[in-house]
Amino acid sequence: MTATPLHTERRTLLTVFCEASLEPLLVRDMDRLGVGGYTISDARGKGSRGVRDASWDEARNIRVEVICARAQAEALLAHLQARYYANYAMVAYLSEVEVLRPEKF
């Protein structure tokens, strides 16, 4: 049996942690910037703005993940920094990932 080598390509993963109240705004931003797909999940944790334990509306966090081309991820990150960093609980970072089916991203 011979294993076929996986053919992967590099894309950029943008991960954002922020307060849940921003979800509708972020979704709108991503649609506007032409992001093809994203995943949003509930999250909890602690940071400079205190414990966010998701016990009720105002203490809820989300994690947003977007896999896309480097340029688009950088544009989105720059927008987040300009628009939200000053006043909202938000952490965002880029990382390189390898994906199958590159045409999806």
Partner: protein, 312 residues
């Protein structure tokens, strides 16, 4: 003391002692949905038995009341307590709006004492959520071209609270008391038990405001108690002008005194991001909510009885 208040105190104590007790976030959501629907249904079935035309002046009056309260709270916070403009505006919006949990406790308190309250108070609860949000936003940033009124209007009028209250009311009104009988065991008979569970969770949430209260010192506590009493006076006056019963006046005073922690924080977070949400919530939840449900409601009822007794 009412058992529902004891549940609240139990939650508060468990939170302050850093107990492991934690209710799932989804339960808090579910209980909120239940309370909003139950209050809407109750109001709606009451409205089904009376003409709706007298409601119009009452709705207009409470819109004015909500705006006046917000402006007053803003002035007090800005000039007396030295808040900056965004924080004064956001906190004022919390105090100009209303708290569903406080309304629910008051409804249970009046029901336990067989004090009649007009059914349209549920309509007034829904109406009073909104004006303070809009006034607060204008106070924080003025009226400029950038204001996205469509999004704000959507947030203010179609938020979870107003939608569920109005939906429940429409169902209650369309079905009437007879039609609601099959669901009344859940929504009316179990109301107090579910309210008690909700207040247990509220106690836990309130206990988390203590840190912020410590940082802010006495001024936030003074505002958190002074403002509701002042607002209750305005509410009583409005109720008296509208010719409400003693129960109705006391309920309107309670609504005026209560401070929002559902609709307003979410709207202010988006519309006035410079405001620190911890400050408004520590005031509304940490001070005003416990004050209203423990001391405020009996006080406002006493004030309403005196006002009704003084005027033949």
């Amino acid at each position: 003391m009412d058992p529902v208040i004891l549940f609240f105190l139990f939650g508060l104590a468990a939170g302050l002692l850093r107990s492991e007790l934690k209710l799932p976030g989804a339960l808090y959501d579910s209980l909120t949905i239940f309370l909003l629907l139950a209050i809407g249904l109750k109001g709606g079935q009451g409205l089904a038995t009376q003409p709706l035309a007298p409601l119009v002046p009452q709705i207009l009056a409470v819109i004015v009341l909500g705006c006046v309260q917000t402006l007053l709270a803003f002035a007090v916070l800005r000039w007396l307590f030295g808040f900056d403009r965004p924080n004064a505006a956001a906190t004022a919006a919390h105090y100009g709006s209303v708290s569903v949990a406080t309304f629910a406790v008051a409804a249970a308190w009046f029901a336990a004492r067989a004090i009649p309250v007009e059914p349209q108070m549920a309509v007034i609860l829904a109406v009073m959520e909104v004006p303070a949000i809009l006034v607060g936003i204008v106070l924080a940033r003025g009226v400029d071209k950038d204001t996205d009124w469509k999004a704000l209007g959507h947030e203010a009028f179609l938020g979870k609270g107003v939608t569920l209250l109005l939906g429940g009311m429409a169902i209650g009104w369309a079905a009437g008391p007879k039609g609601l009988e099959p669901v009344s065991a859940l929504y009316f008979d179990l109301f107090k038990g579910i309210l008690a569970l909700f207040l247990l969770e509220m106690g836990l949430i309130v206990s988390r405001q203590v840190g912020e209260l410590r940082r802010r010192g006495l001024s936030l506590i003074a505002f958190g108690i002074g403002m509701p009493v002042l607002s209750a006076g305005l509410g009583l006056g409005t109720g008296w002008l509208l010719g409400l019963s003693v129960g109705g006046m006391a309920m309107l005073a309670t609504l005026a005194a209560s401070a929002s922690y559902i609709a307003v924080p979410a709207a202010m977070r988006i519309a006035v991001p410079q405001a620190n949400p911890a400050v408004s919530l520590a005031g509304a939840l940490g001070v005003t909510f416990p004050f209203n449900i423990i001391a405020g409601i009996p006080l406002y009822h006493w004030m309403a009885s005196r006002l009704a007794g003084a005027t033949p």
